[in-house]
């Protein structure tokens, strides 16, 4: 009798658990409530003090103008943000409005997880007039617009510079580089060794993003392209690709301005090594200047434009940037798009966001009238001359895998002398196309 009771309890437990939704719950609070006219929207972002402050400021303005709409703002550690979004989407329990990175958007949109921007909110044609192309196209998937960008994420064309090291080694400051060779020549003077160990790098771009964006920019500036004819596969085994890899190998082996064993994404990444005084010129996005000004308030530095690697034009591929999207499962699409447009589609909200986060605006108007923005983030001005030259990186299938598992490791090995330039180019080409095939 008692065994039978145990048995039934076990069966009951299995049945209860089988009725639970697959993939686990998101652990997020209860869905939106509707009490008479009042609407509650949930907004998600990742945890970043500046981003949170920006969103809270805009929410306060929005709710003052829309008292019937309550916003529940939730944020998550960056490492858990993607997982939170994915598990919640599987359970149809995600927020109404989500702050999403542009390059991720098409994955979610093509999976049927995001709502298309309604025409009465903004059409793509209208968006092209408002935003720079590079950040906008991250949200444009299969001929449809799925979000509104707030940031032009620029990981090209600019570098942090340490005036103290320039002065220490008698190098002209501010830098007067006309060509990239001028930059390398100055960097050589500022590289410091202790025996054969590099203690200070003259110039470093050896990070997952730095190497990958330099690779794509080098190909474009050499007159090449990295997509194959079908626009989906890649062609990285080209003379332009090899020339760019050779340039980076020469930084390490010929000019010795960086030791890729000692300065890379794991050890001495640019965003920390520069601010500890171990780097004279650090190639990184302007976001690092914003973070550095907060975390290292005593460090004197500047953010300057650097010359193109090849040729006279600053051609490069950009990664879109953070923006706002709306879930396809939202119960209040009109209100959700009203919030998204207020935050990312109108100048006031976008300006507030860019000032607090110290990021480059995706909106052209904010760059044309930058006084308020530059008062908060003067280092952004160095990037303004680059913005019109950027193109969206394109549908690279799986951006993180392409950058951090394929391009960066192969080029790092070449810079470290473990493989040749030709082998690196072939390896990148083979693995990148295998990644595309695996995802199709």
């Amino acid at each position: 009798m008692k065994r039978t009771l145990f048995g039934w309890l076990l069966v009951f437990a299995i049945l209860i658990s089988a009725c639970a939704s697959g993939g686990g719950g998101g652990g997020a609070p209860a869905p939106t409530e509707q009490v008479a006219e009042k609407v509650t929207l949930r907004l998600w972002s990742h945890q970043n003090a500046a981003f949170q402050k920006a969103n809270e400021a805009i929410i306060a303005k929005f709710t003052a103008q829309n008292p019937n709409i309550e916003i529940k703002y939730e944020n998550f550690p960056y490492d858990q943000y993607i997982q939170t979004i994915q598990t919640a989407m599987a359970a149809k329990n995600e927020a109404d409005v989500i702050e999403l990175f542009g390059t991720w958007t098409c994955s979610y949109a093509n999976g049927g997880r995001l709502a298309e921007v309604p025409a009465d909110v903004m059409t793509y044609d209208q968006a092209q007039q408002i935003y720079f192309k590079a950040p906008l196209d991250g949200y444009y998937c299969g001929g449809k617009l799925y979000g509104l960008p707030q940031e032009f994420n620029l990981e090209n064309g600019g570098s942090l510079v340490n005036p103290a090291l320039f002065e220490k080694h008698g190098v002209t400051y501010p830098p007067q580089w006309k060509t990239f060779a001028d930059l390398i020549a100055d960097a050589q003077k500022m590289t410091e060794f202790e025996g054969d160990k590099m203690m200070t790098a003259g110039f470093s771009a050896v990070t997952g993003d730095g190497v990958s964006f330099t690779f794509l920019a080098g190909i474009l500036q050499s007159g090449g392209k990295y997509f194959a004819e079908d626009g989906k596969h890649f062609n990285f085994d080209t003379p332009e690709a090899r020339q760019t890899i050779q340039m980076m190998v020469d930084w390490a082996q010929k000019y010795k301005v960086v030791d890729p064993v000692l300065f890379n994404d794991t050890e001495n990444p640019v965003s920390t090594s520069f601010f500890t005084g171990n780097m004279a010129v650090g190639f990184v996005g302007s976001w690092a200047a914003g973070e550095g000004s907060i975390e290292y308030p005593d460090m004197k530095f500047d953010y300057v434009q650097i010359p193109p690697y090849f040729g006279p034009e600053h051609k490069y591929a950009a990664d879109s940037g953070w923006g706002k999207v709306v879930s396809v499962n939202t119960k209040h699409p009109a209100e959700a798009w009203k919030l998204a447009k207020f935050m990312a589609g109108e100048q006031d909200g976008s300006l507030t966001w860019n000032i607090e986060t110290k990021t480059i605006p995706a909106m052209k108007a904010l760059v044309e009238n930058p006084e308020e923005l530059l008062a908060a983030a003067p280092f952004i001005e160095a990037t303004f001359g680059l913005l019109p030259y950027g193109q969206y990186i394109g549908d690279v299938t799986e951006r993180d895998q392409l950058f951090y598992e394929i391009i960066y490791p192969a080029i790092l090995e070449a810079m470290q002398g473990a493989t040749t330039v030709d082998d690196a180019a072939k390896k990148i080409n083979t693995e990148a196309n295998a990644m595309v095939d695996a995802k199709q």
Binding site: L9, A20, L262, D265, T266
Partner: protein
């Protein structure tokens, strides 16, 4: 002669009674059922789900069918994920390297851990009773420290320019390696230097756990056995090797199984110290599962890898049980 047979009291033929009263059974049920439900929801079900996902090309951002999101854009692919592990693709190469790294880490950690903790336990047991507690506490402190904090601190210690280790080595006239964590060419006896560095940090954090287990086991050995060995003329080494060590076999089994189990599942220290580099030389299977599941949204592939890890751990545990089995107790 009086009939001493007792009448049967409520004993049904073919049925055994548990010997417990109804109240006791009720208490046991009440205590066990929540635990069983917990195990069902948070252990058994996720394992079953992972097993199922391994046969699908599943991504949480794809819309599948109404049946738990399977099918549709998350198609059933049978054994393709497992076949792909033997392919010449980049994910398959990283997987095979992760298998090698995981075994290398576990098979190095175990003997080094035992070589440190067992003699140390004997030493701690030999000191005055008043000092035993202090030593136990000091050696156990790293075990209760946050793994992330330990990894960050050891990352600073290994820093090539400002690290404490290189500073000390240079002070005593030893030329340190170029980089402890990021030099792909630094390999010693087939073991990458980055792996050695992570092993040192891991053992530093973990050895206290086995130490207290061995101390407890040593305290459980009857003193009379030691006295008998002394009377028979055994010296300290003979007493340890021929008396103490064999009696620790059950504890050794327990420690070996636990150490191998945790070594096969180490993740935090690798992610924080080396992020799997250089050149995937310190990428363990758990990191590969994490990256594929949550970074590259390839949950089906990640689930297949997790099944492989499960089978490996099960096989290794079975081998340990067989090798260290005992048929006695004291």
């Amino acid at each position: 002669m009086a009939n001493l047979s007792l009448p049967l009291r409520g004993k049904r033929k073919g049925k055994k009674t548990s010997g417990l009263r109804a109240g006791q059974l009720g208490f046991i049920s009440g205590a066990l059922i929540p635990l069983m439900l917990y195990m069902m929801f948070f252990s058994l079900l996720p394992m079953i789900w992972a097993l199922i996902l391994g046969f699908f090309e599943y991504s949480p951002i794809h819309t599948g069918s109404s049946l738990l999101g399977l099918g549709g854009d998350n198609p059933f692919i049978g054994l393709d994920n497992f076949r792909a592990m033997f392919a010449e693709s980049q994910p398959a190469r990283v997987f095979r390297m992760a298998v090698v790294n995981t075994f290398m880490f576990a098979l190095l950690v175990l003997p080094i851990n035992l070589a440190i903790t067992l003699p140390l336990a004997v030493l701690v047991e030999s000191v005055h009773d008043r000092l035993k507690g202090t030593f136990r506490a000091v050696y156990f402190l790293p075990t209760i420290s946050s793994a992330v904090a330990v990894a960050i601190i050891w990352g600073f210690i290994y820093h090539p320019q400002q690290g404490l280790l290189n500073t000390i080595l240079k002070l005593v006239g030893i030329i340190p390696p170029k980089a402890w964590l990021t030099d792909p060419n630094a390999v010693y006896l087939g073991v990458p230097l980055a792996m050695i560095a992570v092993i040192i940090a891991y053992i530093w954090q973990d050895f206290g756990y086995n130490l207290v287990i061995f101390i407890a086991a040593l305290q459980g050995i009857p003193k009379e056995l030691h006295d008998a060995a002394c009377v028979d003329g055994a010296n300290a080494w003979q007493e340890f090797w021929q008396c103490t060590l064999p009696l620790l076999k059950p504890t050794l089994l327990f420690v070996c199984v636990l150490t191998m189990l945790s070594s096969f599942q180490v993740f935090v220290i690798f992610q924080v110290m080396t992020n799997g580099g250089p050149s995937n030389q310190t990428t363990p299977l758990v990191m590969s599962i994490y990256l594929n599941a949550f970074k590259y949204q390839n949950m089906g592939w990640a689930a297949a890898i997790s099944m492989v890890l499960f089978l490996i751990i099960m096989a290794v545990t079975a081998v340990q049980f067989w090798l260290l089995r005992t048929d006695w107790e004291y």
